[in-house]
């Protein structure tokens, strides 16, 4: 504000001091000469100035809207008119034209009159301040000069009344007044702020300014006529009286212009309102584009704003990757009606026209609908990003007026923004999902790494080799070795169904179960049957484990094993690779006695150079580019070709072939190989 806070505290005291000074001056001198009148009026001006300073403090504390200002003006003029009427009555009651000082009664009357004078000063300064605020409202250019010029001419013409009164030079007053009035007209045209009002506010303003024109008119007639108030004021200060008149004239001019201009603005008010909502909606949305984590929240915002922007009554979104075509974030519409409207919009069109905005009369959908869902027109806009349609934004309205070009443009712009927002939300979601998945898989891989044996045990008469290659999405392969009492050696190879962390958990559980069971049992069938009974408590119905549990009896030179749904065991003997496939269903496939019934016990008297190859389906189901399986035949051939070599070499040969075969395609499952070679006799010979 212009009247800054240079003197903050003593303002009210200054006002009071000036007022007392003025009163004393008036008590001592009666304004009979031009000089005394001038001093009197200068003192009045000082009081007026301090009154403005004090009131300005009230205004500078917060921003007032135009409507509030105009409303306060309305109130103020009403109050002043009532005051003027009252003063007229007061004047005729007291019946003084000239206040006779120094009589006891007169002192009281002059005090009371002076009080009213001060009140009028306060009202006038308030009036002036409101005018000033209105003038500077929403001004972009520097227009201070205009207002200051007006103020200067107002004061000059006010003081010129003294010249008129005492010297009869009325032309000076006239000249200044003419200038002031011209400036009033110019300043009254600077009312660009009405453009920023909503339609409702404009209607209010129209009413208020009409009222104000009348009130200012009444006020002028009261001041101008030769009645009480005019006499009182003239007696107090002719300049102030004239200033009051001019300010009221400014009021009439200002609000006449305001009335007419607002009237002309009214028809476009609605369009302006819409543009304004459009702009704010887009602002909100563009802020959302960078914030939204919650897809539902975004959808709600989009449909909410779409209704505002397109003058519609209902809105909803359909996403193309959702096969059910369920409306997302529907506003003011049910699924059934939305579905009907969609089919009307989409039915007669070919796919390519759907990449543009489509409109349709949907009154046909109104059969069997309640009043609430009675829509006449609907429009759809594609939500495109990177030339791909991700979905559609629908709006529908109940009024029987089609969507116009404005609505179309709004919908177009809005749907563009929305599709960016939706795309961003999707990308964010998928990257969060991906990161979560990767972290989960890291944990799963770490678990698996800790569960699997860190080294291969040394067993007399038995060459052992193992290979484990984890897939990116942990496949749940598991193998382990156990040194058992009575010179026995056990092993397990297993494959848990499913992938990732859930498979890793089951694996960990399985290991715990097997480790504790081998402390008590050494019969493969018994161990698997008991394992099956234990996992029933924790395993989900859809999960299962395939496993082979085997025990080498190193003393009896025998192998015992049972197979629970696992791939075959390959046995190489006499230059021939044989598939050993004893009956048995996977762990977790059934928890009834059938599991035990179907589980066969296989045993074999070991012979020198017997090779056993155990594997998981990651080996045989390794895929090449044509999605062909590596297959058991190939596996058998490699083993057969290298049977005379060490198990480590055989394992290496298999892995080389597998990686050559599946080159260029990602490994989708864990690969586990377990190889044993019986080397008893050789050692006996040497030993």
């Amino acid at each position: 504000m212009e009247f800054s806070t240079k003197i903050s505290q003593p303002r009210i005291q200054l006002f009071i001091a000036a007022a007392i000074g003025l009163f004393l001056f008036r008590m001592i001198f009666s304004a009979q000469s031009l000089f005394l009148s001038l001093i009197n009026d200068l003192l009045v001006l000082t009081v007026f100035y301090f009154s403005i300073l004090n009131l300005n403090r009230l205004f500078s504390q917060k921003q007032f809207s135009a409507i509030t200002l105009v409303r306060s003006l309305l109130f103020l003029t009403l109050v002043s008119i009532v005051l003027y009427e009252f003063l007229n009555g007061f004047h005729s009651l007291v019946g003084i034209d000239k206040i006779e000082f120094l009589t006891s009664n007169a002192l009281f009357i002059s005090l009371v009159t002076y009080g009213f004078d001060l009140l009028i000063i306060i009202i006038l300064s308030y009036l002036f301040l409101v005018f000033r605020l209105l003038f500077f409202l929403k001004q972009r250019k520097n227009v201070k000069t205009y207002f200051t010029a007006l103020l200067v001419f107002l004061i000059l013409s006010s003081f010129a009344t003294l010249l008129d009164k005492f010297s009869g030079w009325d032309f000076v007053k006239m000249a200044f007044t003419a200038n002031a009035v011209i400036l009033m007209v110019i300043n009254s045209l600077k009312i660009s702020w009405i453009a920023f009002l909503s339609k409702k506010e404009k209607k209010q303003l129209l009413l208020f300014s009409f009222g104000l024109i009348i009130l200012f008119g009444i006020s002028i007639s009261l001041i101008h006529s030769e009645n009480g108030i005019s006499k009182i004021l003239n007696n107090f200060s002719p300049s102030l009286n004239y200033f009051n008149l001019l300010l009221n004239i400014y009021g009439v001019i200002y609000f006449s212009f305001l009335f007419v201009i607002t009237l002309f603005h009214l028809p476009t008010a609605e369009a302006f309102d819409r543009k304004a909502t459009e702009v704010t909606s887009l602002q909100i949305l563009s802020r959302l584009i960078n914030q939204v984590l919650d897809f539902k929240e975004l959808g709600d915002t989009i449909t909410d704003l779409a209704i505002k922007v397109c003058n519609a009554d209902a809105a909803w979104i359909i996403l193309t990757d959702d096969e059910t075509k369920t409306p997302v974030a529907p506003k003011n519409i049910g699924f059934v009606t939305a579905d009907k409207i969609q089919s009307v919009i989409f039915s007669p069109k070919k796919k390519h026209t759907l990449s543009e905005i489509s409109f349709a009369n949907v009154t046909v959908c109104n059969e069997n609908e309640t009043k609430n869902e009675h829509f006449c027109y609907a429009a759809s806009a594609p939500l495109k990003s990177h030339q791909k349609i991700n979905g559609y934004l629908f709006v529908a309205k109940k009024v029987d007026v089609p969507f116009d070009d404005e609505d179309k443009n709004a919908l177009e712009t809005f749907s563009d923004y929305s599709s960016i927002a939706i795309e961003n939300a999707k990308l964010l979601k998928s990257s969060i999902e991906k990161e979560r998945l990767e972290r989960e898989l890291d944990v799963a891989r770490e678990m698996q790494g800790k569960i699997l044996p860190q080294s291969i045990p040394k067993v007399k008469h038995l060459e052992i080799s193992s290979v484990f290659v984890p897939a990116f999405e942990v496949g749940g392969d598991y193998y382990d070795f156990f040194e058992l009492p009575d010179n026995k050696f056990g092993f397990i190879i297993a494959d848990v169904s499913g992938k990732g962390i859930s498979a890793a958990f089951i694996m960990a559980e399985l290991r715990g179960i097997i480790e504790s069971l081998v402390l008590t049992f050494d019969n493969p069938k018994e161990i698997l049957v008991r394992t099956n009974a234990i996992i029933e408590r924790t395993m989900e119905k859809k999960n299962f484990i395939t496993a082979v549990f085997g025990v080498f009896d190193l003393t009896a030179e025998k192998l015992f094993l049972s197979r629970a749904g696992h791939s075959s065991i390959l046995l190489v003997r006499n230059n021939e690779v044989k598939e050993v496939l004893p009956g048995g269903v996977g762990l977790g496939l059934t928890y009834s006695e059938k599991f035990e019934v179907f589980l066969e016990e296989y045993s074999l008297q070991l012979k020198e150079n017997d090779i056993f190859v155990l594997y998981t389906d990651g080996v045989t189901e390794a895929k090449n580019e044509n999605m062909d399986d590596f297959g058991i035949t190939t596996l058998k051939k490699i083993i057969s070709d290298h049977q005379s070599e060490s198990v480590d070499t055989i394992a290496k040969k298999i892995m080389t072939q597998v990686s050559v075969f599946s080159q260029g395609t990602p490994q989708h499952d864990d690969i586990t190989l377990l190889l044993f070679k019986w080397k008893n006799n050789l050692e006996k010979q040497h030993g």
Binding site: E473, D495, S497, G498, K499, E540, K541, K542, N543, F544, T546, A564, G565, H566, S567, S568, L581, G583, G584, V585, G586, G588, L589, T590, K594, F598, D617, M627, D629, H668, D669
Partner: protein, 115 residues
């Protein structure tokens, strides 16, 4: 990602689900939805036609295990039919034929229900 789709048909009381493509951990959910849909509609007699299924992973097998109990307790069943040899081999290794009814053709599976 491997392609997978299902088709649903009804043959009297029997619901036939045709599988097409590759059924693995990623596409298993799709089949889960298809079967749980039938359960919500109180349809418990299901024949799964494997004719066009090229591959099934352990997660794919798990889908049948997840639902068979519900079907059987509601006097229905999931019967499997028309598998390619490679697919049948996987079921066979696991011991499915001992617990589930697997038929060479869809008609045989449907007839079994109507007996």
């Amino acid at each position: 990602m491997a392609e997978f789709s299902t088709k649903h048909r009804e043959y009297g009381e029997v619901n036939i689900i045709e599988l097409n493509g590759y059924l693995d951990a990623h596409t298993a959910q799709h089949l889960e939805h298809a079967i749980s849909d039938l359960i919500t509609k109180n349809k418990f007699k299901v024949v799964v036609n494997f004719e066009k299924l090229k591959y099934i992973s352990s997660a794919g097998l798990g889908v049948f295990m997840a639902f068979i109990e519900t079907m059987r307790t509601n006097s229905g069943d999931i019967k499997l039919a028309a598998m390619q040899p490679s697919v049948y081999n996987i079921f066979d290794l696991l011991g499915f034929p001992l617990l589930y009814e697997i038929f060479p053709t869809e008609t045989e599976a449907v007839n079994k229900f109507n007996q």
